[in-house]
Amino acid sequence: MTEVTYLEALRQGLWEEMERDPRVFILGEDVGAYGGAFKVTEGFAKQFGEERVIDTPISEAAIVGAAAGAAHMGMRPVAEMQFIDFISCAYDMLTNYVATARYRAGLATPMVVRGPCGGYVRGGPFHSQNPEAAFFHTPGLKIVYPATARDAKGLIKASIRDDDPVIYLEHKWLYRRIKEQLPEGEDLLTPIGEARLAREGKDLSIVTYGATVWKALEAAERLATDDGLSIEVLDLRTLVPMDDAAIMRTVEKTNKVLIVHEDTRTGGVAGEIAARINEQAFAWLDGPIMRVTAHDVPLPYAPTLEDFVLPQTEDIVKAARWLAAY
C-alpha cells in the first residue's frame, strides 16, 4: 500500500492504461512536454513519446472531433480539457457528433474527455465550472465524477476501457487535498454505474457526488457529534448511467433525503434525482426531498462571494438538521 493523492491516483490510472493498451493515447493543450496545466500527464511524453501524448492547438472542438475519429478507427483516445470550463467549446462535437454516433450510425466511439472541474479554489467564472448538467441531458454520453483517490484511479481505467464515450470529471479542489492508501500492482477498477456508500446511517440520507461528498461527510460527523443524528452518505460516482437502485435503497432505509451538489440548482442533476425518487420511492418518504446546491449565478471570484454562492458544510448541516426534524 502506498499513500497517493487524488491527482497521483488519476495519473497512475492513465499511466497504467497507456502501458497496458497501445491503442490508448492522450491529446490536449500543453499535455506533452509541459505535462499538463496541473501536471496530470507529467513525464508521459518522455515515457510514451510525442505520438501518444499529443500537444494540440487551442481547439477543443478539434481535440474532441479528432478523438472521435480516432475512436472510430479502434483507438482509445483520452482528450484533456485544460479546464473543464472549456468543454463548452466542444459542446456541439460532443452532443451532436460523439453522443449520437452509436445510435444514429452504429459507430463505436470509445473515448474519454477529462478535465479539472469545480470551485472552492477562487478560480472565478471560467476556471470553476461543473458542466455535468449540460451533458447529463444528452443520451449517448456517460459521466463519471470520482470523489476519492481510489475512484479517481478506478474510474479513469474503467472509462478508458468502456466502449462508450465517457466524460470524466475530476475535481481540482481534491487533486492534492485527498490522500488514500492504494494497493500497488493491482488492477484497480471502479465499475461505471455503481454508487458507493460513503457513510452508513439511519436517520437521513445525503445523496451527492464530487467534492461535496467530503463536505457531506464533514457535516455528517458534526451532526453525529452535536445532534446525535445518524446520517447516511451516498457517493454516486457515476451520473450517467445513474445507480437508481442504490438511491432507492438508501431512501427506503432512512426515509428522508437531501441531495447535495456543487453545481447550480436550476436544471441541475439534483432535480432529476428528486424526480426519480418521487417516481420510484414516494411511499417511503417521510419528508420532502430537499436540495443543497450552488445559487444560480456564474461563480464569482472573491472569496466572500464564492463562499456565499457555493454549498458549504454549514449549509448541509443546517439543511439536514431541518429535514431530520421534519
Binding site: 493515447f25 472531433g65 479528432a66 475519429g69 480516432a70 457528433y97 462508450d164 417516481e279
Partner: protein, 351 residues
C-alpha cells in the same frame, strides 16, 4: 487540359493514367448518381421519401472524380461525404438499395430508420456519413487521418466542405489541427455558389476558398469542378502527396448547385439565366461525355448501354425495397450505449 492533336487513326492517349475501362466506370457512376436521384425525386413526390431530398445535380462530376482518385477496397482510404456527394458514396461502394431504403426510412436501411438521406457509413468500404452540423467532419476526419499516421498505415482521408461551411469554427479548428499534425488529409472545398440561399459574397470576403486555406500553411488549388478529369487529376495528386507523408492538401472545386437547397426550395433567389447557363453550357456529365466521344476514347453505344443498365438496375432496386416495412417503434430504444444496450419504455406504455 491537353491540346488536341491532329486527327490520327488512333484515339489520343487517355489522360491522368486512367484506362479506357476506368473512363467508362467513371461514366457509370455519374449516370448512376443522376438516375438514382431522379428516382428519388419520383419517390419524394409519391411521399415515399419521408424527409428532405437533397440533389447533387450539377455536382456529380466533382463528387465522383474526387472519390475515384482514392484507393478503394476493404480498409483503404476513407472519405466523408456531404449531402451533395451521393456520387462519392457510390464510388466508395455504397449500394443504391441502401440509399433508397435510407431515404424511405426502411427497417432494413443502413441506419434502420434512424437517420436521413446519405447520413450513413461503412468504414470498411471507406465512407463516414456526415452530421448536419457543418464543419464537424473536418476534425473527425483529421482524427481518422491522425490514426493512419500513428499506425504508420499508408492510407488517406478525404473530407468535403461546402463554401458556406468554411465559415464554421469546426472547419477552421479541424483544418488547423490537421495542418499542424501533417496528417494525410485531402479537403475538397466545394464552391457551389449557394449555401441554402446565401451567396459566397455574404459568406466570406475572399474570392476563392483556395486563398482562405493558405493561411493554414497548406497548399490550396482551384480546379474547374465540372471538368471530371481535371478534378480527378488534382485529387490524385493531393492524395498521393498526402500518402507520401506531406500532409494536408486543399482543392477548391468551382461548381454549381442547380437545384434548391432541398426539393421544397423553389430557388426564387437564383437568376433564371444563371441556372440555364449552367444546365446548357456547363453540365459535368455532358462535358465528360463530349470529351470521351470527341477524343474517341469510347463509343457512344457503350455509354448508351451503361444508361440502359443503370436504369434497369434502379428499377429493379426500387421494386425490391419500395414496399418494405418501416422499423418497429420500440426498436428506437436500442443502441444508445454499448452498455446498457437497451432502454426500457416509459412506465405508462405498459398501463
Amino acid at each position: 487540359m491537353a491540346s488536341r492533336a491532329a486527327p490520327t487513326t488512333q484515339s489520343p492517349p487517355v489522360p491522368a493514367g486512367l484506362t479506357r475501362d476506368q473512363l467508362l466506370d467513371i461514366y457509370r457512376y455519374l449516370r448512376l448518381t443522376r438516375t438514382l436521384e431522379e428516382r428519388l425525386v419520383a419517390l419524394y413526390r409519391q411521399s415515399k421519401v419521408i424527409g428532405g431530398l437533397f440533389r447533387s445535380l450539377g455536382q456529380e462530376g466533382e463528387s465522383v472524380a474526387s472519390a475515384y482518385a482514392l484507393d478503394r477496397g476493404p480498409n483503404r482510404d476513407i472519405l466523408s461525404p456531404l449531402i451533395r456527394n451521393l456520387g462519392s458514396m457510390l464510388v466508395m461502394g455504397a449500394q443504391p438499395i441502401q440509399i433508397l431504403r435510407q431515404y424511405m426510412a426502411k427497417a432494413e436501411g443502413p441506419t434502420h430508420g434512424r437517420e436521413l438521406n446519405v447520413h450513413f457509413n461503412d468504414l470498411e468500404r471507406g465512407y463516414l456519413g456526415q452530421v448536419s452540423h457543418l464543419g464537424d467532419m473536418v476534425p473527425v476526419m483529421a482524427g481518422i487521418a491522425l490514426t493512419f499516421k500513428l499506425r504508420g498505415e499508408r492510407r488517406v482521408g478525404l473530407v468535403y466542405i461546402g463554401d458556406g461551411a468554411t465559415s464554421t469554427g469546426t472547419f477552421h479548428e479541424g483544418l488547423n489541427f490537421a495542418a499542424v499534425q501533417r496528417v494525410p488529409l485531402v479537403v475538397i472545398a466545394e464552391y457551389n455558389r449557394w449555401a441554402y440561399s446565401t451567396p459566397p459574397e455574404k459568406q466570406f470576403a475572399v474570392k476563392d476558398l483556395a486563398e482562405k486555406v493558405k493561411a493554414y500553411g497548406v497548399p490550396g488549388v482551384t480546379v474547374d469542378g465540372n471538368d471530371v478529369l481535371a478534378v480527378y487529376e488534382a485529387t490524385r495528386f493531393a492524395v498521393e502527396r498526402a500518402r507520401a507523408g506531406h500532409g494536408v492538401h486543399v482543392i477548391e472545386v468551382k461548381t454549381y448547385r442547380r437545384k434548391g437547397h432541398a426539393e421544397h426550395d423553389d430557388q426564387h433567389y437564383v437568376p433564371k439565366d444563371e441556372l440555364d447557363w449552367w444546365a446548357k453550357e456547363n453540365d459535368p456529365v455532358d462535358r465528360y461525355v463530349k470529351r470521351l466521344l470527341q477524343s474517341e476514347w469510347v463509343e457512344e453505344r457503350e455509354l448508351q448501354a451503361i444508361d440502359e443498365q443503370t436504369k434497369a438496375e434502379i428499377d429493379q432496386t426500387t421494386d425490391a425495397c419500395v414496399d418494405e416495412p418501416l422499423p418497429p417503434g420500440d426498436s428506437a430504444l436500442e443502441g444508445v450505449y454499448a452498455h446498457p444496450p437497451l432502454l426500457t419504455p416509459h412506465w405508462y406504455r405498459s398501463l
